[in-house]
Amino acid sequence: MSEREPLLQMHKVTTHYGPIRVLHDVDMVIYPGEMVCLLGGNASGKSTTLKTVLGIVRVSEGEMTFRGERADTLTTAQRIERGMAVVPENRRIFPKMTVRENLEMGAYLRSDRKAVREDMDYVFELFPRVGERLNQLGGTMSGGEQQMLAMGRALMSRPKLILMDEPSMGLAPLFVEKIFEIIKQVNERGISVFVVEQNANVALGIADRGYVLQTGEVVLSGDARDLLHNEAMKRAYLGDV
């Protein structure tokens, strides 16, 4: 990388859950416009990293900056105001609210009505099926549709950085491909994407860079292409293909 200003930077971040240390000395950086994936097995600390970036988990040691300012002392709402958005694990759309209301919740902190409507139109472009079911209750949609809705909801805050927690979980393989295609499309618009994924193959297929987490520590990092051909990676996560 070049002289670009990092969008998100984590420096020696350590987090605890009571006395248990979950993340240890994690260094990560995301540049504007990049797509970075975070890989690792179960209980490696992937979800916790995401929650730490969002502010749901507090940083015990180390620091984090977002868009040039110190972020680990901000509340979740403040971080969202400054341009973060999240597509949570298992989608977690609001089941008893309509599709439209779910999208509106994504834009909760915004007050520029006209721009919000424009963003909603863009979401309908990306996900025509969402646009067709505006008045349907979120809980009645299929897993794949919910994933699209969750992504649309995240886009509604016009974020600079979208955090995605295991988007492929529970989806049919065909859908997974589609979803990641759309993620790439969104990324090409200039929105940085930080994807936490178990499915290393698919994630590395479209990401720019990747980090590999194991028991709370970063053990590998680099360009996505390099990681795809990395021997250790192949054995551990990709299978001998």
Binding site: I80, V86, F94, E101, G106, Y108, L109
Partner: protein, 389 residues
């Protein structure tokens, strides 16, 4: 699901047969009596609905049975009583009442503006303070203004209770929260005894709405008051206002989102603590309105340690029966319970051979509650919020 309709229609048919039996066979009552009972049931049901809404909203969002809600209802009634019966007040007291009410005004404006430092909020508070100080020291407050002011002050009380007793226990085991709510309830009851009165209190503000009314029906006359218009109307207005707030406004949607998934709502930037405080504000305001209308309906208030207990528990039962967590459920449950208590006892009046059901009517709510909890915990509307294994 056809079962619900079958049972419902069956019950209606049974009721019709029973009325026929009582009027024409037993000749114990006339049809006008039943019309009157129906109107009474609607009134009582509306009152239960107003209280039930507060229970259902709070349970929906933090899964707490707010034991203290019935006592908040009591406080609302008594505050209104003191406002209309002792005004005009001497200046120090007028200032205190005005200050409390102005605080409530600021909370309500804060719902709209979002910050206590907003000029509209502060300005509204100052204007309210000045205006109310004048009104309370120079004039006798009428029952409607008393009700509005009581709603404002009681709303703030609800927020304070949450802030002081429930917020510190977020994330604590449910039993602790429930015990704290019980303690709050006990505290309010005994403080009410201390601060308000120890006796049963007459509640008769001068108003047209309590005037008697009679109209002919089916050959005889129904005797009632004009409250048959006021109470259901006022309830409907408040319910509509609440529903609009919850479905159309940003904060209302945040409330619904937080009730469904507080963590994700937080991830959208919602300040869940503020949403919870709003829930308590609105629920307590409705309870206060219910308290005032209750006083008008019955003409007196029971002493503070007793007044809120039974109505509170019954309203909670109504919320569960209708479907806890659901606003329409609370209204349906409340009205249903009102009919159960009033109308069913009317169906089985006291005769020579039968003592009547009146002395058992307070137990109906509990029995129905236990049955619903055991057989269909999701209630009539059917949103099951019980713990899923």
């Amino acid at each position: 699901m056809p079962w619900g309709w079958i049972i419902g229609l069956g019950l209606v048919a049974l009721v019709i047969f029973r009325i026929y039996y009582v009027v024409h066979v037993l000749k114990a009552r006339d049809l006008a009596f039943f019309v009157g009972a129906m109107l009474q049931s609607l009134q009582l049901g509306s009152l239960y609905a107003l209280i039930a809404l507060g229970y259902t909203m709070v349970y929906g969002i933090i899964r707490l049975i707010n034991f203290a809600h019935g006592d908040v209802f009591m406080v609302g009634a008594f505050l209104a009583y003191f406002l209309f019966s002792r005004s005009p007040y001497a200046l120090p007291w007028a200032l205190i009442w005005a200050a409390l009410s102005a605080w409530g005004v600021m909370f309500v404006l804060n719902l709209w503006r979002g910050s206590f430092r907003d000029p509209i909020v502060i300005g509204g508070g100052v204007v309210a303070m000045a205006g109310l100080t004048y009104a309370l020291s120079a004039t006798t407050v009428n029952w409607l203004l008393a009700m509005l002011l009581s709603m404002l002050i009681t709303g703030v009380l609800g927020v304070v209770i949450d802030r002081v007793a429930y917020r510190p226990l977020r994330g604590a085991p449910r039993i602790s929260l429930l015990i704290t709510a019980i303690a709050m309830s006990f505290f309010l009851e005994n403080t009410g005894l201390l601060v308000f009165t120890r006796n049963q209190t007459p509640f008769r503000p001068p108003t047209e709405w309590t005037q008697y009314l009679q109209f002919p029906v089916f050959g005889s006359t129904v005797y009632t008051t004009r409250l048959i218009f006021l109470i259901p109307l006022a309830t409907a207005l408040l319910v509509v206002a609440l529903t609009l707030f919850v479905t159309r406004t940003r904060l209302g949607k945040a409330m619904r989102a937080s009730a469904q998934d507080p963590e994700t709502a937080q991830m959208m930037g919602v300040n869940v603590d503020r949403v919870i405080a709003t829930t308590f504000l609105l629920g307590s305001m409705l309870a206060a309105a219910g308290g005032v209308l209750w006083g008008l309906n019955f003409g007196s208030l029971n002493q503070p340690a007793v007044m809120g207990i039974l109505p509170g528990i019954k309203a909670f039962a109504a919320a569960v029966i209708g479907g806890i967590g659901s606003l329409p459920g609370a209204v349906i449950g409340g009205v249903l319970l009102g009919f159960l208590e009033n109308f069913v006892t009317a169906l089985f009046p006291r005769t020579q051979h039968f003592a009547g059901l009146t002395e058992y009517k307070d137990t109906f709510a509990f029995i129905l509650l236990i049955l619903v909890l055991l057989l269909r915990p999701s209630g009539i509307v059917g949103e099951d919020l019980s713990e899923k294994v």
